[in-house]
Each structure stands twice: as structure tokens, then as C-alpha cells.
């Protein structure tokens, strides 16, 4: 219960950083933090106390593993997060080449 709340606090920090900061790199950092918190929340939901990692070996029955389904889904989500970060960094670099600034207020003003 307290772990869930701490995880959601981390998510709130990320969303707040995404909403309030004017710097584009800070916005990417905020989105990254929110994504990490969400991934962690799913894995927390699938944890079974006393469970083992879901790899079959001798002496373990099917009841002794943690839930493998959130792990499989989050494995996909982590890789997609990397792709999103790379795309946002590329767009940020291109904006910096054109406007010489990371500040979104400046970029909006220079558009004319």
C-alpha cells in the first residue's frame, strides 16, 4: 500500500515536471520519470510475496512464481520508451539548430 503511494508520488513528480518546466530537455526528463514510475507500478502489482523469478528450474512448481504477464508487457513498454525518448531528443536537437534555444516561450515567439 505505501509502496503504491510512493510510486504514484514519483509519477506525480514526473507529470509536474512535464507540465511546469519551460525547458524542452526538462520536459523529456519529466516524461522519462513518469514512464519509469508507471513501469514500476505494474511490476509492483504482479509481485507475489515469497515468489521466485519466472524461470523454470528443478524443485519449483507453477505456484511458486511471480506473475509473468506484467513483466512481459512492461518489457515491451521499456523498449518503446527508449524509441520515444530518441524521437523527442531528435526533434529537440532540430529545434535547437533552428532557434538556438531550448525555451518553449522563445520558440513560440520566434515563429512570427
Amino acid at each position: 500500500m505505501s509502496l503504491y503511494i510512493l510510486c504514484l508520488v514519483l509519477f506525480a513528480i514526473g507529470i509536474y515536471c512535464l507540465l511546469v518546466k519551460k525547458n524542452l530537455v526538462k520536459k523529456i526528463v519529466g516524461l522519462g520519470i513518469a514512464e519509469y514510475a508507471l513501469n514500476l507500478f505494474f511490476i509492483l502489482l504482479g509481485y507475489k510475496s515469497g515468489g521466485e523469478a519466472p524461470i523454470l528450474s528443478r524443485g519449483l512448481t507453477a505456484n511458486s512464481f511471480v506473475d509473468p504477464l506484467p513483466q512481459a508487457l512492461i518489457l515491451t513498454s521499456i523498449v518503446i520508451g527508449l524509441a520515444v525518448t530518441a524521437l523527442m531528443a531528435a526533434i529537440t536537437l532540430r529545434l535547437y539548430e533552428k532557434y538556438r534555444t531550448f525555451d518553449i516561450n522563445e520558440i513560440r515567439r520566434l515563429k512570427g
Binding site: M1, P54, L56, Q71
Partner: protein, 172 residues
């Protein structure tokens, strides 16, 4: 599970540092610290595949963001924390935590998952998919179409990066 709390509080402190520090390079490195903390959490929560993937992805994303920020002269503007922002932050965090507390109360408690489909995968992985690693059997056999969609998203993102960053065909 006190170690989970300790690492998670460390991650929250690193996230606040990454949000509030002036220097962009330091901010990116603090984001890397949050990611390494997440790797440790995955190891503690018995998800070794995720820990390996998260470590690699974290290193790659820090390298990409350092490429985006290195050599950039950011003027040292002293942004004053305006009162409106502070009130907005307080209201936002209060509303979010209020609703999340009510939502979390409906969830199964920590350490006791529902596992309606997960137990099915656990018992069928060896006989149906023939894989010792159950997570691999889920992403590559039971839910292979999800992985196909993931590959499509990755391909689209790579095309987007190449389109944005290509040097030829750009107006001078």
C-alpha cells in the same frame, strides 16, 4: 520489504534533483540515477529480464540525451518560483494523491496478485511453448502479436528520427 521503500525514496529524491537543478547535463545524469534505482527495484521484485533491459535502455537514453545537451550554452536565467506555480503544484499534487489513494484502496494488496492469466501461463509455458523462461514464452509465443506491434513502433520511431535529423534535402 524495507529495501524496496529505501530504493524508491532514493529514486524520488533523484527525480526531484533532476527536476529542479539548473544545469541540463546534471539533470540528465540524475535521470540516469533514477533509472539505475529502477533496475535495482526490478531485481528485488524478481524480474531479472526487465532489470537487464532497463539497464541497457537507461544507458542508451542517457547517451542520447547527453548528445542533445552537450555543448549547449543555456543562459543562466534566474527563474523566480512564482506564487501561481507554487499553488498550482500544491493543488495538483493534493488532487492527484487524493484520487490515487482512493484508487489504490480498490487494488489487491501488495504481495497478493490476482494472477488469473498469469497462473495459466506459469503452468502451460513448458508444455505449450517449450521455454524455461516464462516471460520469453509470453512475449514470443503466447502474445507474439504484441511483439510484432512493438517492432512496428520501433521501426516508425527510427524512421521519424532519420527524417528529422537527415542532412540532405534541407533548406539552407
Amino acid at each position: 520489504m524495507i529495501e524496496l521503500h529505501v530504493v524508491l525514496i532514493l529514486m524520488i529524491i533523484c527525480a526531484i534533483v533532476a527536476m529542479e537543478i539548473k544545469d541540463l547535463l546534471s539533470s540528465v545524469i540524475a535521470l540516469g540515477a533514477v533509472g539505475i534505482g529502477l533496475t535495482v527495484e526490478f531485481l528485488l521484485l524478481r524480474a531479472p529480464d526487465l532489470a537487464i533491459t532497463q539497464l541497457v535502455v537507461e544507458i542508451l537514453s542517457v547517451i542520447i540525451l547527453i548528445r542533445a545537451t552537450v555543448g549547449v550554452k543555456v543562459p543562466q536565467e534566474n527563474i523566480k518560483m512564482r506564487l501561481g506555480y507554487f499553488i498550482f503544484a500544491l493543488v495538483f499534487v493534493a488532487v492527484f494523491l487524493f484520487f490515487s489513494k482512493r484508487a489504490v484502496a480498490q487494488l489487491p494488496s501488495f504481495g497478493d496478485p490476482m494472477m488469473k492469466i498469469g497462473s495459466l501461463y506459469n503452468s502451460l509455458a513448458l508444455s505449450k511453448a517449450g521455454a524455461a523462461n516464462i516471460v520469453s514464452s509470453v512475449i514470443l509465443d503466447f502474445r507474439a502479436y504484441d511483439t510484432l506491434g512493438e517492432a512496428t513502433v520501433l521501426f516508425t520511431a527510427v524512421i521519424g528520427v532519420l527524417t528529422v535529423l537527415r542532412a540532405s534535402g534541407r533548406k539552407k
